[in-house]
Symmetry: C2
Subunit: 210 residues, 2 copies
């Protein structure tokens, strides 16, 4: 299986960490997003939406969308379980995972894409028309990211990991979200002791470097 | 199981249709979002994020996030299958489902929330600080929705349903997305014959009224 990825990009990182936690070796193909390689004719043949990551299976099937790729890897390599075992656990993990995406990754991407010089005419990821950056959308992203950070700290005060008492995909999304936040100069606020405790633990996992 | 829902809101509708396709009867509790009931103390005790839908299980567990709720219902009531059977089919359906969410529902919500008079100070859903509407974000939503509609028509020209040759959750998301688009006066463009063929079929499914 080949994974189209970019070392610094948050969504490919989520898949790489997920795979590394399971000990899956992926054949990584690096794509340069700021340089526009994801919008090249060659890459658009793989993923017409121009987004990363993309996983190409041995039969040629292309899977895109981070969580869809992770679910496929979970089916093939069930252990360690990262998406839940019982119906209720699976739902609770998916719920938290999506909270991390919609409340964290998304507003951070609004800040990043609407301020980074590289994306002056491409504030929306992927193969969509050129447009202008919106400073107001970046500002809104700041407000929402702050709400997310507060909730994350509260959540990690209630249980050891994002979705309960064990490590799951929700931790990977939150961990990558905090890394992404550093790109826009947002770090874990001083008083967020629960997040800091959890982050220190995340950084000790070998897969966190993937 | 009790579902906190609002008749006109797109995400509760997705869950109601999903349940109706499986013949699951849910005890529906109506919440008035424009009236701010989702931000009341009572509702925030159920879902602190202030979002709909929320499914309350018989043991008191609260599940939020549309797709997490749908996955729970699929586990309990596996037939008819709406999330895929094999690892690959599950991944492909999840991929298309997420495309419909991120490329369709999300930009349509940007238009709706940043123009509707009811949401003048609440352009972001749920329990987040009041803020101003951003006309530029609504305009960006228009551009992205147009891209989504073109891709949807192309997708439905390649196979009978959004994720292949059978009805799945991806069709429900796309169908609800087109309904949501009508709220912001966007309808299926005249030349989109594939989408029109599929939409006519969707409207004939009894569950589409749920």
């Amino acid at each position: 299986m080949q994974l189209y990825s970019m070392k610094q990009a948050v969504n490919p990182q989520r898949v790489r960490i997920f795979a590394a936690e399971k000990g899956i070796a992926l054949d990584i193909i690096e794509i340069d997003i700021p340089g526009g390689e994801n919008l090249s004719e060659t890459y658009l043949k793989i993923n017409p939406r121009g987004l990363l990551p993309a996983l190409v299976l041995d039969d040629g099937t292309v899977l895109t969308e981070t969580v869809a790729i992770c679910r496929y890897l979970e089916s093939l390599f069930p252990e360690p379980n990262l998406l839940g075992s019982t119906a209720k656990e699976q739902a609770l993990i998916e719920m938290r995972q999506r909270e991390m995406e919609f409340d964290g990754l998304l507003p951070i991407s609004w800040i990043f894409r609407n301020t980074a010089a590289h994306f002056k005419t491409r504030p929306q990821p992927g193969a969509v028309p050129d447009m202008e950056q919106l400073p107001g959308m970046a500002a809104r992203g700041q407000v929402l990211t702050s709400v997310w950070l507060d909730r994350l700290n509260e959540c990690l005060g209630q249980h050891s990991y994002v979705a309960g008492e064990r490590f799951t995909i929700a931790d990977i999304t939150a961990f990558c979200g905090l890394g992404f936040a550093r790109w826009v100069k947002i770090s874990v606020p001083d008083g967020h002791t629960h997040t800091k405790r959890w982050l220190a633990e995340m950084l000790q996992r070998p897969a966190s470097k993937a």
